[in-house]
């Protein structure tokens, strides 16, 4: 069995799927990628048992036989070869021999039949969505996902489809991000599913800003996304996502408008002297002025003042500056709006004229 290809033909798909392969493995074969040999292409699959990504590379192949090779090593070899190099890959016994110019590599392989490929049950529903839209939905919310929370259903992103609207929600219990696309699915589906954190991060990396339609297949425990040149499959988190509607601030009666860039710079400066653990900053808004104050256990202090649009009653409220900056980074608009009620109620933040993406941040007691 022999595969003849170019460095560039192999490098791109290898780089696309490398992120799926976990560095620390319980099963040795999981640090490998599966190569299925077809006549004029090879299929490359990577998995960590939760997320699977399959893509292909153009190649001239003769003979039959599938095998698995160490992902990291074959990627590093391809990267290190000179541009435009020809690559010949042959399987010989329990080794894969790679030749390119005057370079020779012999890589250990493991049998293809041992490779755990995800076989979802027949899909219960199928719909399509613009690739760029899904990318947006993920990019605008993924930062708010929890990490290693025991409330395992928070370690992921909610994907909700209802009345043709698609909505994503991520939260770690202290802040929440919501993004929606209206009437973008032509289907009467009504589902809520939770994608695991890693799948969300990988998808965010993988999706392009393209107007192409991609196909999403849902089955009991899996979601499969078919995009240009790649099939992405992920397990779903089996759990109930908390009722996010309930925590969206209601009854806010104060509105603060600020220049996003200026506010972000002020926050970054003030954050230097905030408590490293809790990162609290006190916001005081009154009469078109926003004052930011931070101090740390060493009794050092920072104070910032900036002009904003604010005419409501004076309010003093504390926020975790990290959470606030995360939100500002996710907002594209130049002007942001912060809706508030009192110092114990969470804030609703969004870009001007864009309520498609909304953010909730809980206040801190400071």
């Amino acid at each position: 069995m022999k595969i003849v290809t170019k460095r560039e033909a192999l490098l791109d798909p290898l780089q696309r799927i490398a992120g799926v392969v976990e560095r620390r493995q319980t099963l040795p074969i999981l640090s490998n990628i599966l190569i299925n040999v077809k006549s004029n292409e090879i299929q490359i699959t990577a998995t960590d048992l939760e997320v699977e990504l399959r893509t292909q590379a153009v190649a001239e192949c003769s003979g039959e036989g599938d095998f698995t090779v160490p992902a990291r090593k074959i990627l590093d070899i391809c990267k290190a070869l000179p541009e435009g190099a020809d690559i010949i890959l042959e399987v010989d016994g329990d080794k894969a021999k790679i030749r390119s110019g005057r370079s020779r590599f012999s890589l250990g392989i493991l049998p293809a039949q041992d490779y755990p490929v995800i076989e979802p049950t027949a899909s219960s529903s199928v719909f399509t969505l613009k690739e760029a839209e899904l990318k947006q939905l993920i990019e605008k919310t993924q930062f708010a996902m929890a990490q290693q929370d025991v409330r395992y259903y928070l370690n992921g992103m909610l994907l909700e489809i209802k009345d043709g609207d698609v909505r994503t929600v991520a939260t770690d219990g202290h802040r929440l991000a919501l993004s929606e696309c209206n009437k973008s699915v032509d289907s009467d589906l009504d589902v809520q599913l939770i994608l695991p954190r890693k799948a969300v991060l990988e998808l965010g990396r993988l999706l392009k800003d393209s107007e192409d339609e991609i196909k999403l297949e849902l089955s009991a425990n899996y979601i499969r996304i078919l995009m240009d040149g790649a099939v992405f499959t992920s397990k779903l988190i089996d759990g109930r996502f908390p009722d996010y509607q309930r925590v969206m601030p209601s009854g806010t009666n104060k509105e603060l408008r600020a220049d996003k860039a200026l506010l972000k710079q002020s926050l970054s400066r003030a954050s230097i002297l905030s408590n490293e653990k809790y990162r609290g900053i006190r916001f005081s808004a009154n009469n078109n002025t926003l004052q930011l104050q931070a101090h740390n256990p060493e009794q050092e202090e920072a104070e910032e003042e900036l002009e904003v649009d604010y005419t409501g009653d004076e309010i003093k409220i504390g926020f975790n500056v990290g959470y606030f900056i995360d939100v500002l980074s996710a907002i594209k608009e130049d002007e942001i709006i912060v809706e508030l009620k009192d110092s114990n109620s969470s804030a609703l933040i969004y870009g001007k004229d864009n309520s498609r993406n909304r953010y909730v941040v809980m206040p801190m007691r400071i």
Binding site: K277, M362, R365
Partner: protein, 388 residues
């Protein structure tokens, strides 16, 4: 006499504490090797051994089987904690009468702020001998005392002449005191650091001192390098007492026979996590770090830890993280001799409320009710159901 006021830290370390208590209470054990810890045939370790046993090369934390091999004729005893705790309590109380600032670091060890005691007790040497004499009178046990300008020097000084010794290292004597010592005497020099130290061909602190900070940082990391650099120059904290309280809560178990079975390990870890959780809730502490300790075959000990975004003390959460640490440790499948779990980095109460607070409050109420029942009726009367 020159009575310049200087900072003095005193370190008091009881000599072979458990074994000495046994020898005091059982005169027939005097002048014989006494080993307190696991019993031979078991799989635990030596907790403490008398100096007579140390002559056989027996040390604390050595597997009991190894101790048996070296000295089958020794007296082997299980620890009798209540008696040791009672002695320790008396000692700590007595130390309070010497200096108002006492920081017990373990059952048989304490730091004292000995600054400004000269007027009362004379030179540091007399303070040291007074302390040793008072302890002997009060509890009939020997100890070693070290006095120096900071914690590091005081501790090294108490180890310098043991047992029943005392050493005072004055500020200007610090370097000469440190220089000939092996690097392994310094704090934080364990197996890993020692390996690198050996590779660099460093043996004494004097040699270590020749290395500039940048080189040490390159080999031992920014923090580790700085730590060694400072210690080699006798630079360390002289703070005694204050905020230092309990730093971690942990529980561990040595299995009778090595265990590889996942289910069994999982069960044990769950049980230990519940003990840690209960203990933490009793003290109203929550930790932001969960630690896992595993000793596998060949007495190889590994620890793993993870930092959490939020402080925890719920059994389920501690267990969840500990189990994850185990699964990611790369040790899954190895046969395990000892397993332990703990939490540390106790912070103040989270100032950040939770969007979905109600669920957490319910959880906390549930645990406090369970704790009350356990306190009243004992462990294993009530536990949470597990979905398997």
């Amino acid at each position: 006499m020159n009575r310049e006021s200087r900072v003095w830290v005193m370190h008091v370390d009881m000599d072979a504490f458990f074994a000495s208590v046994e020898q005091r209470d059982n005169p027939e054990f005097l002048h014989r090797p006494v080993i307190v810890g696991a019993l031979p045939g078991g799989r635990g370790v030596v907790a403490t051994c008398s100096y007579e046993a140390r002559a056989f090369g027996i040390r604390s934390a050595m597997p009991i089987s190894e101790a048996w091999r070296r000295c089958p004729g020794a007296i082997y005893l299980r620890p009798d904690m209540p008696r040791y705790v009672e002695a320790s309590r008396k000692i700590m109380q007595l130390l309070q009468s010497i200096s108002p600032v006492v920081e017990p670091v373990s059952i048989d060890e304490a730091y004292l702020d000995a600054s400004g005691l000269e007027r009362l007790n004379g030179e540091p040497e007399s303070i040291a001998s007074l302390t040793r004499q008072k302890i002997r009178e009060a509890v009939g046990l020997g100890c070693s005392v070290g006095i120096g300008p900071n914690r590091l020097i005081a501790k090294l000084a108490s180890e310098y002449r043991k047992p029943n010794g005392q050493t005072v290292v004055r500020h200007e004597e610090v370097q000469a005191f440190l220089d000939p010592m092996p690097v392994s005497n310094l704090r934080g020099v364990g197996k890993q650091t020692d390996k690198i130290v050996q590779k660099l061909g460093i043996q004494t602190i004097h040699q270590l001192r020749q290395y500039p900070l940048e080189i040490l940082s390159a080999h031992f990391g920014r923090k580790g390098g700085r730590h060694l650099y400072d210690q080699a120059r006798g630079v360390a904290s002289s703070r005694v007492g204050g905020t230092q309280g309990r730093k971690s809560i942990s529980k561990e178990t040595t299995f009778k026979r090595d265990v590889t079975c996942r289910r069994q390990l999982r069960e044990k870890l769950r049980q230990l996590s519940a003990e840690v959780g209960r203990s933490a809730r009793h003290k109203s502490l929550k930790g932001r770090v969960v630690n896992l300790k595993i000793r596998i075959e060949g007495f190889e000990t590994h620890t793993r830890q993870c930092r959490l975004p939020r402080a925890v003390n719920a059994d389920g959460e501690i267990f969840g993280h500990a189990w994850k640490l185990y699964e990611q440790s790369g040790l899954a499948g190895r046969s395990v001799r000892l397993i332990g779990v703990g939490i540390s980095d106790f912070g103040s109460e989270e100032p950040m409320p939770d969007l979905f607070e109600s669920s957490r409050e319910r959880e906390e109420k549930l645990y406090s009710t369970m704790d009350e029942i356990t306190d009243k009726y004992g462990i294993n009367v009530l536990s949470r159901g597990i979905r398997r």
